[in-house]
């Protein structure tokens, strides 16, 4: 049931948070009060349909304005992260939905990860630190102004959901599009192609918002639990497209809470941890090995 429910939730949430249909028809963006609020996923606020603000874009907006810290955006991230962790990545992020749909395209040679997966997963933390925080804060011009480095030079979600629709609908923007636009479209094409063969490459290796939420996975209200009935057969890891040893780390920072492991477990040892449950996450077989 989760397998059928998750895509519906993803599509529904994307439709709701990008429901400004008038924007797509006219090439203009929504300017109402809802844009004061951040949506939980990576959703460019320049998308013609966007009704809310992207937390990463909003964070950079405040940092480029001269502030050293954004209580408002960090507050949103704490709120979303402490409740959901990376459930947001798996269920509520529009660009996660795009990658999931791309990965359904039937092609030979699909794999879970890129070569060098283990060190590569740390790249997103570097991108968060450098492109989202440090450069917007410190790489300033003579007027003390900086720019949203991640949004400007990397974010393929912004290119797909905002850049292409807006440029396509405006001759003026078409005339202004140059090398930067070509670079971003190129990055988008690479991301799209990779996502067909590799499961969620952007989420695994690049997304700074996923990096933020990953810090919350082990402590968020929504967690997974491994019961003592776990037989360490490894089927959870086989089913896990994020390639997590679920029986050892059910609340891994890489887990996007898709639920595939829970469906795959032959002894039903994996559970969604109820809110505020005091039960331990590690199964006794693993505990005995660690103690021995």
């Amino acid at each position: 049931m989760v397998r059928k429910l998750r895509p519906l939730v993803q599509i529904g949430f994307t439709a709701v948070t990008n429901g400004y249909v008038f924007g797509f028809l006219t090439g203009k963006i929504y300017t109402g009060p809802l844009k004061t609020a951040c949506v939980p996923g990576l959703n460019c606020y320049s998308c013609p349909g966007a009704l809310g603000s992207c937390p990463i874009g909003a964070l950079q907006a405040v940092l480029t304005g001269g502030s050293r810290f954004s209580f408002y955006v960090v507050g949103f991230l704490l709120l979303f992260g402490s409740i959901f962790g990376r459930f947001i990545c798996g269920w509520l992020c529009p660009f996660g939905l795009v990658q999931d749909l791309l990965h359904k395209i039937p092609v030979p040679g699909k794999r879970k990860n890129l070569p060098g997966h283990r060190p590569l997963v740390w790249l997103k933390y570097g991108i968060l630190a450098v492109f989202v925080v440090l450069l917007p804060m410190f790489a300033v011009d003579g007027f003390g102004q900086s720019k949203p480095w991640f949004c400007q030079y990397i974010c393929p979600s912004g290119t797909l959901m905002a850049g292409i629709p807006l440029v396509a609908s405006s001759e003026a923007l078409q005339a202004a599009a140059g090398a930067l636009f070509n670079w971003k479209v190129g990055l988008l094409i690479v991301t799209v192609l990779l996502a067909v063969w590799i499961y969620r490459p952007f989420c695994k290796y690049v997304c700074p918002l996923g990096a933020v939420y990953s810090f919350f996975n082990s402590i968020a209200c929504y967690r997974y639990r491994v019961e003592d009935t776990c037989i360490r057969c490894g089927r959870c890891q086989e089913a896990c497209q994020m390639d997590i040893r679920v029986w050892e780390k059910p609340n891994s920072p890489e887990c996007i809470r898709c639920g595939a492991c829970i469906q795959a477990c032959p002894v039903h040892a994996l559970k969604r941890d109820p809110l505020f449950s005091p039960k331990a996450p590690v199964c006794s077989n693993v505990k005995k090995k660690e103690e021995g």
């Binding site: 606020y45 603000s53 502030s67 408002y72 507050g75 709120l79 400007q152 290119t159 209200c221």
Partner: protein
């Protein structure tokens, strides 16, 4: 003790998040976010 930490920690983060939101609104950061969001971000769409 571990069980208490599992309940208290997300609760603390939640409360901290709400307090930070309130502080950010008080400091005018919500207005900053809104002003940025209602104009097309030329950097974000690749125009620069």
């Amino acid at each position: 003790m571990k069980a208490k930490r599992r309940v208290i920690l997300p609760g603390l983060l939640l409360v901290t998040g709400i307090c930070f939101l309130a502080a950010g609104i008080y400091r005018g950061e919500a207005q900053t976010v809104w002003i940025k969001a209602i104009y097309i971000c030329l950097e974000c769409i690749g125009i620069g």
